[in-house]
């Protein structure tokens, strides 16, 4: 958890050849490799400005622009000298500092009150950046899964439960329509709701016959519980089964019971 803290220290106290550099040389002469170490320690112009403000004990609410600008420009010139890539962001900030400085030199028109301080925007940005810097540090100090927290992850034997495909009635109907569309004997295959229940009964009767081998015709009708339409459908189903040669109807003599059995001629 202390990683970033130490890292931050390393950043704000740049090291050269293993030794901490605690202050800038007064003549601002920095060997080029040392400058790079310095600059890499800063996350950008705001970071550098904050560093300078802290380092020189400047009042962030009353920044001496001349001093800060001078310090800052010293760095930027060195950066340009060694053609650091970072320079663009830093140059933008130079321009801003110089602008603020020159605006402060202008005589203030009487009607403009003191709250229109040219430094206000810079102060706001510096403060906001410092807040973010401290937030980043706090975030980094939070325990993290994988580093400071280990979550349970024991094993279990995954049982593959293949989910059977779901179908809807519409799927079914459209599949059937596709079949009919392609089938040559179209007219023969039209099915209404009523025919469907006949076909359902055909299957049911076959099931019963499979179980009982032979059944009396009247035993197939549940006269007590079924309404007339169902009885008719059942009768139609028997006729259709017979027509398709699926069942055999037998009667020994007139008025004797009729028997149904599955057609097994061979």
């Amino acid at each position: 958890m202390t990683t970033l803290v130490t890292e931050l220290k390393a950043h704000t106290e740049p090291r050269l050849h293993g030794e901490a550099i605690t202050s800038l040389p007064h003549d601002l002469y920095i060997p080029p490799d040392a400058l790079e170490v310095y600059l890499e320690a800063f996350e950008g112009p705001l970071d550098l400005l904050l560093y300078l403000i802290r380092k020189h004990n400047l009042d962030i609410l009353d920044i001496p622009m001349a001093e800060l600008t001078r310090q800052y420009m010293g760095y930027v010139e060195k950066m340009q000298a060694i053609k650091l890539e970072l320079a663009a962001d830093y140059l933008l900030m130079s321009a801003m500092l110089i602008e603020i400085k020159s605006r402060m030199l202008l005589p203030k028109p009487d009607e403009v009150e003191s709250e229109d301080d040219p430094r206000a925007e810079l102060v706001r940005r510096l403060m906001e950046y410092e807040a973010i810097k401290s937030a980043a540090q706090k975030l980094d100090e939070l325990p993290q899964v994988g580093l400071d927290l280990m979550v349970a992850n024991a094993y279990f034997e995954q049982v593959i439960q293949v989910q059977a495909p779901q179908i809807s009635m519409e799927d079914l109907l459209s599949a059937w329509q596709n079949v009919l569309k392609r089938a040559s004997h179209f007219a023969h295959h039209k099915v209404g709701k009523s025919e469907l229940s006949v076909r359902e009964h055909m299957s049911q009767i076959l099931r019963q016959l499979k179980e009982h081998n032979m059944m009396e015709f009247s035993a197939l009708f549940d006269v007590e519980n079924e309404g007339i339409p169902k009885l008719v459908v059942c009768f139609l189903a028997i006729l259709e089964l017979a027509r398709e040669g699926l069942v055999k109807l037998t009667q020994q003599a007139a008025f004797t019971p009729i028997y149904l059995q599955i057609n097994q001629s061979n």
Partner: protein
């Protein structure tokens, strides 16, 4: 930090390590946990103790087992089917061929494979029939009395249940479709012919 001065502490660390590891832990890895200051024999003994502790735990959910690459905690086998519900496979879809085969069995039952092939004009994939049978959506209700005595397939009660139907008559009828193809008089004529064949039982009397 925890002191490693007694076996209880070591067992706790081992338990935590095993419960948090996504893969089995080898003895070598577990020794690293104690900076190699523990004998392999001691480690084995501790693992055995943990194993026994968990076996004795009532009620229990996990067991410590040794597999090829080391030791791991795993859910008791009887719990696995439940746990599998948490990451189910994505529901599959039936192929168009399978749907058509099913539709033919539904609307023309009882049918043989030959009937299906005749209607679809292509051979039926035996897997499709098997799949539908395994799902208990269709079954064999008899054989047609022709050479080879092919099986007659029909839909089951399970099929109706799974589609939330009371009877096949609840399925959408094809009538609307007839109208699409034969937009006018012809459709009516065909429909009337069909209707004439079968009595309409749209509203069966309550039993």
């Amino acid at each position: 930090m925890v002191e490693l001065n007694n076996t209880t502490q070591m067992k706790i660390m081992l338990e935590a390590a095993l419960l948090t590891s996504p893969s089995p832990l080898s003895l070598e890895l577990m020794l690293r946990l104690f900076s190699e200051r523990v004998e392999r024999a001691t480690l084995r003994m501790l693992l055995d103790e943990i194993k026994q502790d968990w076996l004795a735990r009532k009620p229990n959910s996990m067991e410590l087992v040794e597999v090829a690459s080391g030791w791991r905690f795993q859910a008791l086998p009887e719990l696995a089917p439940f746990l599998s519900r948490l990451n189910p496979e994505r529901p599959q879809r039936y192929s168009r061929a399978a749907m058509e085969t099913l539709a033919i069995i539904v609307y023309r039952q009882p049918v043989t494979r030959g009937d299906i092939e005749e209607l679809r004009g292509v051979a039926v994939n035996p897997n499709t029939i098997r799949q539908l049978q395994e799902r208990d959506w269709i079954d064999v209700v008899g054989q047609r009395d022709v050479p080879g005595r092919p099986s007659l397939y029909a839909t089951t009660k399970t099929f109706l249940d799974d589609l939330n139907l009371k009877s096949l008559a609840d399925l959408p009828a094809i009538d609307t479709f007839v109208e699409q193809i034969f937009p006018d008089d012809e459709a009516i004529a065909i429909e009337q012919a069909v209707q004439a064949d079968f009595i309409d039982n749209k509203d069966p009397p309550a039993n």
